[in-house]
């Protein structure tokens, strides 16, 4: 009997489980076990729309069990520890041995890393925070909204920028933009990381009068003065603060001795295998690869991991590499969007905003769940 254990039932874990099940459906002596503590699977990209009242909270959840192939044994509880030397995981006091382990535990939000942030900030990176922000924005008619990023890395790099552009669009639609000022802060020397798209986005910011401060590395928030303070002492005043909170990897990764200082797994950028344990794979947001923390990345990586594990199980000596493939859908408001595609050796292309790209992003939710269920490419 060979045991494949997957930790985390988000995008990466669920797709990899189904893809493995598809490839190994007729193998009686292979078990695929997925640890996923939440009953419902959330489609995180919709949180952006939800926070801006542009989507319905019921749209984004599906029962995890129903998304899974029958060959996958779902255990709805968290893994508490990983023993990499003796190849087992522990959940609720019970040991589960593995021959192959896939770590798909994503990122956790750690607002406390920035003094003054927790309790004074708003964000849309989890369901309850997105709902709270939606309610606050409904009553916000006048003042300064500061948007941007509190720390790096963070998932979905364009999300703070999309939020800002969609917020501007929405405020204009409701005739509120003249009484609401928008200021966006970002840690590098431009408003976005992908340099060949910056001119397009910069033009949007300039024509829509969105102020921005770049090279703004947040040190702390001063709630009494209503100020965000940067490392070099620069400040920006807010009435409503919407910063993406700091992210870190899960504690079980650090505890197992396979994480870096941020709790992210070090994996080979091509094979996705943990640096010192070839039977352990990392997928999606949990790794420290220099790729976007994005669902598209987890999706592309799942094909590599499912192929390589199933081939190894079946004794087929053929491996494929992850090539850095990333797809990044970026909304800019006015029903327009960009779809950028790139990998380790090709810079992003797809630089013309269009309505078709916007529709692709809106309808992607249905494709996401269908694709996940059937383990499609």
């Amino acid at each position: 009997m060979k045991n494949i254990v997957i930790i985390g039932g988000g995008t990466g874990g669920t797709v990899v489980a189904n893809r493995l099940a598809n490839r190994l459906y007729d193998q009686k002596d292979i078990s695929i076990t997925l640890f996923a503590p939440e009953k419902n699977h959330i489609y995180q990209p919709d949180l952006l729309f939800l926070s801006l009242d542009l989507s319905d909270p019921r749209r984004m959840f599906r029962d995890e069990q129903k998304l899974l192939n029958k060959k996958v044994n779902l255990i709805q509880q968290p893994v508490d520890a990983i023993n990499v030397d003796n190849k087992f995981v522990i959940s609720k006091g019970k040991k589960y041995a593995y021959d192959y382990l896939v770590i798909a535990t994503g990122a956790r939000l750690v607002p406390d890393l920035i003094p003054g942030l927790a309790g004074n900030n708003n964000h849309f990176y989890d369901y309850s925070s997105a709902m709270q922000l939606r309610d606050k924005l409904r009553g916000f008619k006048k003042g300064v909204i500061v948007t941007g990023v509190a720390d790096v890395p963070y998932k979905c790099p364009p999300a703070p920028l999309e939020f800002t552009l969609l917020l501007d669009y929405k405020l204009r639609k409701y005739g509120l933009r003249s009484s609401v000022d928008l200021t966006y802060i970002y840690p590098i020397n431009s408003i976005f990381t992908i340099q060949n798209v910056v001119p397009i986005l910069q033009k949007e910011y300039d024509t829509r009068n969105i102020a921005y401060k770049t090279f703004f590395i947040v040190d702390h928030v001063d709630p009494e003065k209503h100020e965000v303070v940067a490392m070099d002492g620069e400040t920006v005043k807010y009435d409503l603060l919407v910063l993406i909170p700091p992210h870190r990897g899960q504690q079980i990764i650090s505890d197992a001795g396979i994480g870096d200082e941020g709790g992210w797994m070090s994996v080979d950028k091509y094979t996705l295998q943990e640096k010192n344990h070839e039977e352990i794979y990392g997928i999606g947001d949990a790794t420290n690869l220099p790729v976007s923390k994005a669902g598209s990345v987890a999706h592309f990586q799942s094909g590599v991991i499912a192929n390589n594990i199933s081939n190894s199980v079946l004794g087929i000596d053929e491996k494929i590499n992850y090539d850095g493939s990333t797809m990044c859908m970026t909304e800019i408001g006015y029903d327009k969007g960009l779809i950028l595609l790139f990998d380790y050796s090709h810079p992003p292309y797809g630089l013309i905003p269009s309505r078709l790209n916007h529709l692709a992003k809106v309808f992607y939710l249905d494709y996401y769940f269908a694709n996940m269920m059937y383990g499609l490419p």
């Binding site: 890395p153 070099d232 200082e261 220099p290 790729v291 992003p348």
Partner: protein, 79 residues
């Protein structure tokens, strides 16, 4: 090349998003004072952007070295 002991190598070759500078910021924030980091980047813009960021944040740039097909930027966290 300087002979300081490198604490960590950050391989950001082929990174378009988040990009080498973001990886540098992430790692400098996590590093301890005194750590020496090597950033590997295949993006020509990093040669200009990383030193600007290092200067702005008061860290120490040890050196910029051209290697085959990429640049190595060595930085020391001093505060």
């Amino acid at each position: 090349m300087s002979d300081e002991k490198v604490t960590k190598v950050i391989d950001a070759r082929g990174s378009y998003c988040p990009g080498p500078l973001m990886k540098l910021i992430e790692n400098v924030r996590l590093a301890k004072v005194g750590d020496v980091l090597d950033l590997l980047s295949s993006d020509s813009g990093t040669k200009k952007d990383a030193p600007n960021w290092i200067k702005k944040t008061g860290q120490e740039l040890i050196g910029i070295y051209d290697e085959e097909g990429y640049t190595r930027i060595r930085i020391k966290k001093i505060k």
